[in-house]
Amino acid sequence: MMLHKHDVLIIGAGLAGLRVAIELAEIYDTAILSKVHPLRSHSVAAQGGINASLGEDDSWEQHAFDTVKGSDYLADQDVVEILAKEAPRAVIENERWGTAFSRTDDGRIAQRPFGGAGYPRTCYAADRTGHNLLHTTFEQALRVGVKFYNEWFATSLVRDGNHVCGLTALEIASGDVYGFVGKAVVIATGGFGRVYSHSTNAVINTGDGCALALRVGAPLKDMEFVQFHPTTLFGSSILISEAARGEGGYLINARGERFMSKYAPKKMELAPRDIVARAIRTEIDEGRGSEDQYVHLDLRHLGKEKILERLPGIREISIDFAGVDPIHEPVPITPAQHYSMGGVHCDKHGMTPISGLYAVGEAACMSVHGANRLGGNSLLETLVFGRIVGQQIAENLRNAAEPSSERVDDEAFRIRQKLQELLLKERGESPSEIREVLGETMDRLVGIFRKESDLKAALSMIHHLKERFPNVSVGHVDRRFNYSLIRVLELENMLDLAEVITMGALKRRESRGAHWRLDYPERDDQKFLKHSLFTRIEDYVKTELIDVNLGMFEVKERTY
């Protein structure tokens, strides 16, 4: 069968992937593969905003400090420096491309306070910032002529020695598998929140790129650091933006108390997400939640006008999905999985240890968020590092070797055979049952509060599910638009990632940022001011600890 050939192959068409492509499309033949149309990527759901020290009293150093402190000192400070320094440029670039940022009275880009930030530096387009940035960035990708393979599912990466030379992908419309030969492959597939059953993430966020990278021997990093967003809608886990608290919303328990005074007396509701999520979980666990399941986010005192102007999106979500109008009633909320700090191990230019393989955005771990990401820094990461990774690839491609078509062709053959076998299995395990048990296990045992016995139980359950997986039956043999097959392949990816997340959580015997161990409630810089690295070698996953790049900010106790 025919092979597709491009200089650069990007997997994922969210903000990070698009921004890489825009940097490269005018100089190299650049293609993006995405399992959904680019506008359906999860970047679209980001609400609250994007950080940049535009204000006169603000500075990149303060932004960097807040980010490093927010990360519980695990972020690499040289990477954070780039993020903070480049932030204004990234925001202004997107504004010039047409993003309709909300404005101050004198016409400048408006900024709001956000959790863990010492200054109101979160630029926003109402509470639909991701939507605005994604549509704008996609428009620019069309303008510069990026080649899109929409509704293509990446099935494997192809490695030739210590070099990646392409990938294989399934065209969802036809069910055909093709090989793609490329000099550079970029993982920009976003996070893997759907490993948990309660997540703000889109249903498509299954971490495919991270799993593919792991399978060809690229290390994953800091996978145990999973962010639980404090305020997600009770029931559906749909995100209710931190902007709601940035604009002045209160968190209220069943006794009517603004309980954050106990947990972060200075920052209150605007403490970083890890701290607020633990506070809410504690309130619920100790019997001060409503119906023992949720607390309330009260916005009523903000008034109708402010809610309609600044928070129209979350008002719509509250009405559509919970039947609650925040103008008149408090919103029932509960923490749920939100963001993956971990991802494909790479340097500040997106380069992984395997030449030709790059990672960017939430799928990557550079690491700019360390143990806990601050709100407003993830959209920023995609645009800042999308550009930088693109520049690095442009540089590297000048001397890149011609990739091996033969290897790609062989791999495509192997994948076709694998999918055939999967489809032909008439009876077997139910994929949805394995998926549900996996999600429930991660929710219950690898959640906000962790302990050794739970993590061991989770790991053995994941191993058990992995043993069942080879017997899974898709139950449907049609090739065209076989979404049941896609969901089985996603499940395979999620099982691998869940295992690594849990291994990391078990090995890290300390509490740092979003990773809280009830049995090790202290941060242990002596042993664990380190990144964890996970590398698959044949059948097992090797774990090791590597140094954090410290720098201008001294490691201190973290209080708010």
Binding site: L39, H42, A45, A100, F101, G107, S236, E316, D320, Y483
Partner: protein
């Protein structure tokens, strides 16, 4: 609760309807129900999805003869809803045997070619973005533009568009004329025209005024009634027509 779902294995046209019994849960959306069917009853059912929170625009389909986002449509409340759309065949003709009191009817979004089951070919809808060059030709600078909150407000309604194509699927003109660009792309052209930051803003309305564009619109306003985001494309098209 039962769901009657249009099926098309090979695409092109609906070949039959399948009936499923849904285990109704509190707060369940039509998208939740489709996943329940795919997971537990019929893995052959194809439909698009992504965010499940009414922001990505993937799951547009015809639900009880009205174009809606499946994720934003509550199963328990669907019978109370009525968009009062102007009729055209795809939203009027009902399959034999459908009992609206007991069954939710789910069909592919009209005015597009069916590829499989509830998946339709959106390429014509997307192609307009490129053929009309619906993007900013950027003039880069180290400073952001200034824009007053009032000027921003003029485009807010239009930038809220999620390109879900519900307007396209609800439009009787799109139903009759294959060449009609459709409401979303025209509203997007107006969004750029109205943006005070853009210098060559007339090019957008010029491209919207080609024969297959605004002149074909009959101001029926189904798009305004059906839009899940309050974009009101019909209003923009009226302005494009008026300012000629």
């Amino acid at each position: 609760m039962r769901m009657r779902i249009a099926r098309s294995r090979e695409g092109g046209k609906v070949t039959h309807y399948d009936l499923y019994k849904i285990d109704l849960k509190k707060g369940m959306t039509v998208l939740d129900a489709l996943f329940q069917i795919q997971d537990r009853m019929d893995p052959s059912l194809s439909f698009r999805y992504s965010c499940r929170g009414a922001v990505c625009g993937s799951c547009s389909m015809l639900i009880n003869k009205e174009p809606r986002l499946a994720c934003r449509t509550q199963v328990a409340k669907i019978r109370e809803e009525n968009m009062r759309l102007k009729a055209f065949p795809a939203i009027v003709e009902t399959p034999s045997g459908w009992n609206p009191d007991k069954e939710i009817l789910v069909e592919p979004l009209p005015n597009m070619i069916i590829l499989k089951d509830l998946v339709v070919d959106m390429s014509k809808f997307y192609d307009a973005l490129e053929s009309m060059r619906l993007w900013v030709d950027p003039e880069m600078n180290e400073e952001a533009f200034l824009q007053s909150p009032e000027d921003r407000k003029r485009i807010e309604r239009y930038v809220n568009c999620i390109l879900c194509a519900i307007c396209y699927g609800s439009c009787p003109v799109n139903a009759e004329n294959e060449e009609y660009i459709g409401p979303a792309a025209l509203a997007k052209a107006w969004r750029f025209h109205e943006d005070t930051r853009i210098r060559n803003h007339t090019r957008y309305v010029e491209t919207a005024r080609v024969a297959s564009g605004a002149p074909m619109c009959e101001l029926i306003m189904n798009c305004v009634k059906a839009c899940p985001k309050g974009v009101a494309p019909g209003g923009a098209i009226r302005m494009i027509k008026q300012n000629e």
